[in-house]
Assembly symmetry: C2
Homo-oligomer: 200 residues x 2
């Protein structure tokens, strides 16, 4: 699926990430010609999702080489949102990224690291009260499949990340490329960020 | 999410499987209380999806211990559908399974192994002509999000597997459990197998 932009996505994994938060967007993003992804774990060793699968990775956080930083959610965020070393690493990876993107409770990590100050954002709807307890000046949206505010993209829970990834493709490469990718994986495309059946 | 049945899913991986064929259903199935999954590769070593990620696995094909056999699709099926050793292994794993389930072009592998004879089935809509070239007496359905025929469940391409997994939960545990799982991952639930926007 051809277009003009070039993107490299650095996907930040941690123990107890949510499988579909990563796999849905990765499925979409990998179908775009000229786009590339790398999987990162804290130390470059394999890392496990809560759904019974461990991913091999391409490198450690320190080896991050992409221009789009992607943060999934999952049970692991509950401790990481209070982990100063992780938050410092996250901030370091976000510096220099042209886009920072999260799925589900990944936005709690961004908020805790101060990376959403002054932005509108959203998060998992079942963990909304917890996630929105982080940060100071964040315009948290209770009804949004995803929120795109300048260089920040944050989605609602799990499946919403797949819709956001398709919307990112549409924004970067045009709606026709997003339609083609969605059709290739027999996905009903939703490009309306305001269509949120799971609003708080 | 509580209910009465117990299931163990044996997920058959191979080089160049399609990531979301596995991750969508795994996300759903792992949310059901009392259900368990195992990931298998030919030799028990890690195995790679076409989307730039390698999975560690729980064992080899010979170590299969589940009662539901799950076969994804992907580019790797193109050679495996002609690979006699693989097809013998698949048949061996299917013997004794109480349910055999495929996503996308996984049904081409089942058909090539003779495991869909006398059944109705479906497959990826873009690879439909190729997939349906296998087998003799198979009622291939051109319009179906998934097909459930006795102990065989086959879905259309990629994203359709997630819908089929939710439908399997509904069939085994009731619609309320399927609704609860879908809601937890903010997935728009589709329990209508005939709703197929990608029909051939």
């Amino acid at each position: 699926m051809s277009h003009r932009s070039s993107r490299r996505f650095s996907i930040v994994l941690f123990e107890e990430f949510e499988l579909l938060d990563v796999a849905g967007p990765l499925e979409i993003l990998s179908k775009v010609e000229g786009w590339d992804t790398e999987l990162l774990s804290p130390d470059g060793r394999p890392v496990g999702a809560s759904q019974g699968v461990r991913f091999e990775v391409d490198g450690s956080y320190a080896q991050k080489s992409g221009d789009v930083l992607f943060i999934p959610g999952g049970l692991g965020t509950r401790t990481l949102a209070r982990d100063e070393e992780f938050l410092r690493n996250l901030t370091s990876m976000a510096n220099g990224a042209s886009v920072v993107m999260s799925v589900c409770t990944g936005s709690a990590l961004l908020a805790a690291a101060g990376l959403l100050e002054g932005y509108a954002a959203t998060s998992n709807k079942r963990a909304f009260a917890w996630a929105t307890g982080f940060g100071c000046d964040i315009d948290w949206r209770k009804s949004a499949r995803w929120v795109h505010d300048r260089d920040r993209w944050t989605s609602s829970g799990v499946s919403a990340g797949t819709d956001m990834a398709a919307a990112f493709v549409a924004a970067e490469c045009g709606v026709d490329v997003a339609r083609e990718v969605a059709s290739a994986i027999e996905l009903r495309l939703n490009l309306d960020a305001d269509e949120d059946p799971f609003a708080v």
